[in-house]
């Protein structure tokens, strides 16, 4: 093996008839690639329909008149949109206040559960301490017990503190409900952040806290975003706790959702839809943090 080609030949040697053959296989390959793209797109569209159509239908129903909802077969296109039920619903007593309360509770729970849960998630991910597993189970326990059986003693806890019938009480409860989720999800993401990055930060003079906020946290952003989304939507949609802990300062679901099933169908749709929209806006906002932005990760 002494005689490699003397120069860098720009063109491959064995061409000729082979050329057409390779050309066709290349074309076939490209066709296969295209077929793959089409397949992926088809799957995506199918799933999108499955996930999206129900939401479309609520929107449709929410903007239909009462009568339209009693017809059969139901119209599948918004032929005759009516904002009447929506209007009545949105102007009914307490809806604005409840909306404000819900936002307040949601954001407060978000901040609190991240503040409490992220450090704990980090500990679970990074340290092999005794009691790691019991701790996780302890977290889950609070979530595994149906809250309804705790409702009376829980309300009593808050009645004893003067927090009863404030948004703080609800926020605290929602924080507690979201905490297991936050801790576990963030811990799953923290394990994937190389410990070496943290070490580098510390070598360069960062305190553990700064190393965490500057280096670990940004890399764990997708997990934090996921946890944040859960916390917010959990809080946004939670009914029972909010209904038990407040009286005059309801959140939107407590104000609306709890009694929605007694309302006429049109209002149920209007209420259901109105409740979904703000959560959708929140998800739209958080979604970009779920996907990290600095290209592929490297080690």
């Amino acid at each position: 093996m002494t005689g490699p080609a003397t120069t860098a030949t720009p063109a491959p040697a064995p061409r000729g008839e082979a050329k057409t053959a390779t050309a066709t296989t290349a074309a076939a390959r490209r066709r296969r690639a295209r077929r793959r793209t089409v397949l992926v797109q088809t799957a995506c569209i199918a799933i999108t329909l499955f996930m999206g159509v129900p939401i479309y239908l609520v929107a449709l129903a929410a903007l239909s008149s009462r009568e339209a909802l009693n017809e059969f077969p139901l119209a599948l296109l918004p032929t005759d949109p009516s904002f009447e039920t929506m209007r009545v619903f949105l102007t009914s007593t307490g809806v604005t206040g409840a909306f404000v309360n819900s936002i307040e509770v949601g954001l407060l729970s978000l901040v609190l559960s991240l503040a409490l849960g992220v450090p704990a998630g980090y500990a679970v991910a990074r340290y092999a301490f005794r009691g790691r597993e019991p701790y996780q189970l302890f977290l889950l326990m609070t979530r595994a017990l149906p809250i309804v059986v705790l409702s009376v003693p829980l309300a009593r806890v808050f009645l004893g503190t003067g927090l009863y019938d404030t948004t703080y009480a609800v926020a605290l409860l929602h924080t507690a409900l979201a905490l297991p989720t936050t801790v576990l999800i963030t811990s799953a993401i923290f394990v994937a952040v190389p410990a070496e990055h943290e070490e580098a930060a510390m070598v360069f003079g960062a305190t553990p806290a700064r190393a965490f906020t500057r280096v670990v946290l940004p890399q764990a952003l997708p997990g934090i975003a996921a946890a944040a989304i859960f916390t917010f939507v959990t809080s946004w949609n939670e009914v029972l706790g909010a209904a038990i802990l407040t009286f005059n300062r309801r959140t939107l679901p407590a104000q609306v959702l709890s009694t929605l099933s007694d309302s006429p169908l049109a209002y149920r749709f209007a209420g259901g839809f109105a409740l979904v929209v703000p959560a959708l806006v929140f998800i739209a906002f958080m979604r970009r943090y779920l996907l990290n932005m600095w290209g592929t990760t490297i080690r």
Partner: protein
């Protein structure tokens, strides 16, 4: 923190009113209008909640000794479990003698004890709603306003046949439906003359046999129906039995197409149930006096009529017959009146004095229904088994029977 959502910012000088009634958005809206227009004594923060929340809130506040609610309102079954948590309202009751509450209703307000625990607020009943299209199959000679259960069965059978094999009858058997009241207050009293004591006697067997046949003619989707006005409005069923408040929207759009009628009668008479809502004041409630003034205001004939007019709940006071009712409500009012005024009525009350076990007693009837009609078990065998269950509960609470069972003060109610 937080913004007020009750419309009256229930602070100092306001009455916090917790209620299980008028939860639907529109009804709530209308009742709040009545409160603000007609109740001048104090601003009222009206808070309609689901029954579970009602109970939890009341219990926790009472247990914590930190009562923040001034006034509660609910149907008898909502209030009964909390008898020991309410103020004695005898003084208020005596002040309100001019309201002339019917005796049996006032009696319910004592919750099986001696003192008045709640003041009657409104009443309601269950009737039949019938779309006029169903009348074409009505058996010859039958009067829709005065049916027997047998005629009803024939009618439904003919109607199903006429309707291309699809049942026209619907019953509220959904998870939040009230079909157990049909068994407790209508079917069984009409067939057996009783509710508890006769639970498994031969008449009861007949009644359930009848029910089995009727169920075969009932839309199977009924197990999802919490209220009947929507299936009716959709035309999914043409005939339905339900609480008046849960029927009122069906004829709203075209009252001319609808008929409202009393429930059928059985061998022992026309059994029907009285539904009473009451107002109570929790012990340790703030603004006690204001709350009493609100009760006074809510029991004036004027306000009572207004409630009927707007929200289809009937007065419990002696009010002049209301004119200018909306057509749908007028239909209902007429049917309720006919039902009350019919010959040979058997009035049934919801369980009295058994407090929190009300739900469990009702569940026994529901379980009986499930096992007989849905699971197809033998009637007698089911009744025997369920009777045991029922007696277990009753033996624990040890209360005398309530109507239509023979009421005797010293003896405890049991299934014979």
């Amino acid at each position: 923190g937080g913004s007020s959502t009750s419309g009256a910012d229930g602070g100092e000088g306001a009455v916090n009113f917790l209620s299980t009634q008028f939860t639907p958005v529109e009804e709530r809206q209308r009742f709040e209008t009545i409160l603000s227009e007609r109740v001048k004594a104090a601003p009222v923060a009206y808070n309609p909640v689901a029954p579970g929340v009602f109970a939890s809130t009341l219990t926790s506040q009472a247990d914590a000794g930190n009562m923040q609610i001034s006034l509660v309102g609910g149907v008898h079954g909502d209030l009964a479990p909390h008898a020991q948590r309410f103020e004695n309202l005898d003084d208020l009751a005596s002040k309100l003698t001019d309201r002339r509450f019917p005796d049996e209703i006032a009696e319910l307000g004592r919750l099986g004890g001696a003192g008045t625990m709640y003041i009657p607020w409104m009443q309601a009943s269950y009737v039949l709603a019938v779309h006029k299209r169903a009348l074409e199959w009505l058996p010859a000679g039958a009067d829709v306003q005065n049916l027997t259960y047998d005629q009803f069965l024939t009618w439904m059978r003919d109607a199903q046949r006429g309707n291309g094999g699809k049942p026209v009858l619907g019953l509220p058997c959904g998870p939040k439906g009230l079909v157990h009241r049909f068994f407790q207050g209508y079917l069984l009293p009409s067939y057996t003359g009783g509710q508890i004591t006769t639970f498994r006697n031969p008449d009861a067997v007949t009644a359930w046999q009848y029910m089995k046949e009727l169920w075969a003619l009932t839309a199977p989707a009924s197990t999802n129906f919490d209220n009947m006005q929507e299936p009716l409005a959709r035309g999914e069923v043409l005939v339905a039995w339900d609480h008046v408040a849960r029927l009122v929207n069906a004829p709203a759009a075209s009252p001319g197409d609808w008929v409202m009628a009393p429930a059928p009668r059985g061998p022992k008479g026309l059994g029907y149930m009285l539904i009473v809502a009451g107002l109570a004041i929790p012990r340790g409630a703030p603004e006690l006096d204001l709350a009493k003034s609100v009760i006074e205001a809510l029991t004036t004939p004027d306000v009572q009529t207004e409630v009927l007019r707007r929200n289809a709940f009937f007065p419990v006071v002696d009010a002049p017959p209301a004119t200018d009712l909306p057509p749908a409500i007028a239909l209902e009012a007429e049917a309720v009146r006919r039902q009350q005024d019919a010959d040979g009525t058997i009035v049934a009350l919801p369980p009295v004095g058994i407090g929190a076990r009300d739900g469990e007693v009702s569940q026994v009837f529901l379980n009986t229904f499930k096992e007989i009609c849905l699971d197809g078990r033998g009637v007698q065998q089911v009744l025997d088994a369920q009777a045991t269950q029922l007696n277990t509960i009753l033996d624990e609470v040890k209360v005398p029977c309530w109507r239509p069972d023979p009421v005797g003060a010293e003896q405890t109610c049991r299934v014979a």
